[in-house]
Subunit: 479 residues, 2 copies
């Protein structure tokens, strides 16, 4: 920061009140993210109270041509809120759940509402807001919407975009775009809502949203499955979807190496099966109906009994090698804990090259084989840890190279992205682009699509003050 | 048409072949739509064979600055393909289903594929492409995507946008935008796909798409319900969704006046109930699982039995006034025929004022009451016919004014739109804007949203040659 404060700060203090324009030590809590990996040095941290304040900020920023970086829970993984010498606009004070309409199955929320708070509020109406992921206790709705966040139950409920009906957005010049619709069918011109969702604050600042709520599953049926192959696992998924009427909430792939790593790290943990299998799947079904969820007189959960029957048929036919159904909540928790250990397991070694990619669901087996071949050629001593949301074709890939050579690391990362793209997939699945995936955008995204994105950005933010330099690489970016 | 052909026609004939640039009587079959209501006089009708041809056309149109109106099945209801003195670009020769991947649950289709052809192709894999509506035998995928078409099973499967994974689009200057992804998670920059879907050919010409296929229901359970009120019917829907795990495929509201009109028009038809009820609902559940669909030893369909139990509970509690379950396919067909008679019933009298609007599902009862009050004040002798996709909050409203005064007709139409908007709804639910709803766009759409749409249009089509004058009203449009 400079010794002479930027002239916009005077105007901002007048507009927001001195206490809501933070600099120096006051701003410190906002200048690093929860991972501790991203430090930033903003001109100031702004804490607007409402949409009108956000509008005032953007009017001033537009007049002064000072860049603004919106942020909410700052739990992102792609450096999307880095704001050096820019204004960091925190939405954390816009934290009101304005309304829950249980019969209409909607919630109206502000951008600073914490995801887990919305979970709790929905639960009080016996409903759920389905979006969930590890950072749910800190992540806020503004960030979830801005990055079109995914998570572990997208296979049933879709990503954030699919859960949003309406949106309120402040534009680069401070105008407020009111798309706060709560209707399921609305063909009234261009779909600006879905353009703003996932744009990571580069086209506008999301201040509020109307989101969908869903009935809460009354019981779960969870199991570990061993499948002959990844492709065979996809057939199992399709059968389960048909046999349960689409009740699959999670379908998570863990290879033998993942199970090995888990047992090594947690010696008291149990292996999922007595035998070691190459393809291990955690599956969970959510039972909505009393018919599926209410215990029978002998204490059985019908959904669990039904799953057992379906799996027994698949074991008979050879579609499955093995299966274990959770008999109680403790066994279910054990299965979730194994899957959720991924974040910790992926950090056990150094150096790390990790990636978040997606392919069409029927291309996952080929993706895994191709990646292994490519990266072993680059580094024969490499180790790796895979875990996939197989129902979405989404692979979280971690490699531990045997070398510290950063060129090799970059080559590994590029190889992984290339193989996903070659198979018709995406180099960026659910974490967004931010700064981290800009080089991949320049390398792999359709060139016409990049040109169109630049044209849209120039049309909506001609002064390039909304989170500039993120998401869309410059036209002259080196690849 | 002028005596001297426009100079672009020479270039177009060289590019496409003479036989694919139609004028005069050759063009006649393309100059009126199936309703017979829209006649148009294009400069020529162009029939490209593939995406490359479409690209060549747009390069020439861009150079000559001649407007192009894309069209496919021409079954739209809002005059979106009117092309007087413009080039009518028919996509009917791009009619290939390029690929169906059953395990991956996707189809890759061109814009000229007829909807019912895709239904048949999916059926051969025991899958469905869920989108369906009356015009399915003529409507083509390009039009369905361009208008984000809805239909009668949106409550389960979503509108066209939700069924599309990837898109190929030719831009105003002929560049080809390749978004042909088949992945379920793809956060790689701005969502251009969903911007193009529903833009009615004003931002680009959709030439191909990757769409989702779904498992085919193995049986249906269908019923007519009589509910104490429209709001009570919504509670019934929510209960049925929970009790069936979201298996509701149709939830269609017909008031007593609809039943009366149906019986009058079809004297041999049966009334749904012995008693006359105000709120009649047609509900259909799709059973995906063998457990729900396979007949029991005594020939019963379990899904039907389950529905019977759930409805019996609701009858006991007073949530329902009456219920009749279809016991066989003939009774199911009778229920569908009653609902699908709506199109014919709405044309029984003249003059007609009709409208397609949507409100949040929990506002439908209030909407119906408000509309009735408003239009009876405008025309005490007015008659009306309502039918609603209640699960989507989508009302198809037909009024038969007692007067031929067109000012009164316009006032009725405006009143209906206003009441939908007042209740947080949309004046344009599932048929699109085209030319017909331009005045409503000017009156009711958020002014900032209109400005943003104009900015996007100018950025992507600076010469205003893609279906100009449709969807987005001019900035100086009178309201």
């Amino acid at each position: 920061m400079t010794d002479n404060p930027h002239p916009i700060l005077v105007d901002l203090r007048a507009a927001l009140g001195t206490g809501h324009v933070l600099t120096g030590t006051e701003a410190a809590p906002y200048t690093r993210d929860w991972t501790g990996q991203v430090h930033t040095h903003p001109l100031a941290v702004l804490r607007p109270a409402n949409t009108s304040d956000v509008s005032k900020i953007m009017q001033l920023a537009h007049a002064h041509e000072v860049p603004v970086v919106p942020a909410s829970g700052r739990t992102g993984l792609t450096k999307g809120t880095k704001a050096d010498n820019q204004l960091l606009l925190s939405l954390d004070r816009l934290s009101t759940i304005r309304e829950i309409r249980a019969t209409g199955r909607i919630a109206i929320v502000e951008a600073g509402v914490i995801l887990s708070q919305l979970h709790e509020a929905a639960d009080r109406h016996d409903l759920i807001f389905p979006l969930t992921f590890g950072a749910r206790g800190s992540a806020m709705m503004g960030g979830a919407l801005s990055t079109n966040a995914g998570g572990s139950n997208v296979v049933r409920y879709g990503s954030t975009r699919g859960l949003c009906l309406g949106l309120e957005v402040v534009l680069a010049d401070g105008r407020v775009l009111d798309l706060m619709s709560a209707v399921h069918k609305d063909n009234s011109g261009y779909n600006l809502r879905d353009l703003m969702i996932g744009a990571e604050g580069t086209l506008g600042i999301i201040t509020a949203a109307v989101v969908r709520l869903m009935p809460k599953p009354r019981a779960y049926a969870s199991a570990m499955l061993a499948c002959p192959s990844v492709t065979a696992a996809l057939d199992v998924l399709n059968t389960l979807q048909a046999e349960t009427g689409g009740a699959v909430e999670a379908f998570e792939y863990m290879p033998a190496s993942f199970i090995d790593a888990h047992l090594k790290r947690f010696p008291n943990a149990r292996a999922p099966f007595e035998k070691r299998y190459d393809v291990n799947i955690f599956v969970e079904l959510g039972a909505l109906s009393s018919r599926d969820a209410n215990p029978t007189p002998d204490g059985e959960i019908p959904a669990r009994r039904h799953l057992e029957e379906v799996l027994a048929n698949m074991l008979d036919s050879g579609a499955l090698d093995d299966a274990v159904i959770a008999q109680n909540e403790a066994q279910r928790a054990e299965m979730w804990a194994r899957r959720e250990a991924a974040a910790e397991l992926s950090r056990l070694h150094d150096p790390i090259v990790d990636n978040d990619i997606a392919v069409p669901v029927d291309r996952m087996e080929e993706l895994l084989a191709r990646i292994e071949t490519r990266i072993r050629a680059l580094d024969p001593g490499i180790k790796m840890l895979n875990v996939a949301h197989l129902g979405d074709g989404n692979l979280h890939f971690t490699a531990w190279p045997s070398t510290d050579d950063t060129d090799t690391h970059a080559a590994i990362n590029r190889a992984v992205e290339e193989e996903a793209v070659t198979l018709g997939g995406s180099f960026s699945a659910e974490h967004g682009v931010g700064l981290s995936k800009l080089p991949a955008m320049a390398r792999h995204k359709d060139k016409v699509a990049l040109d169109v994105m630049r044209a849209l950005k120039a049309a909506l933010d001609p002064k390039n003050i909304l989170n500039p330099g993120k998401v869309v690489p410059a036209a002259d970016a080196t690849q």
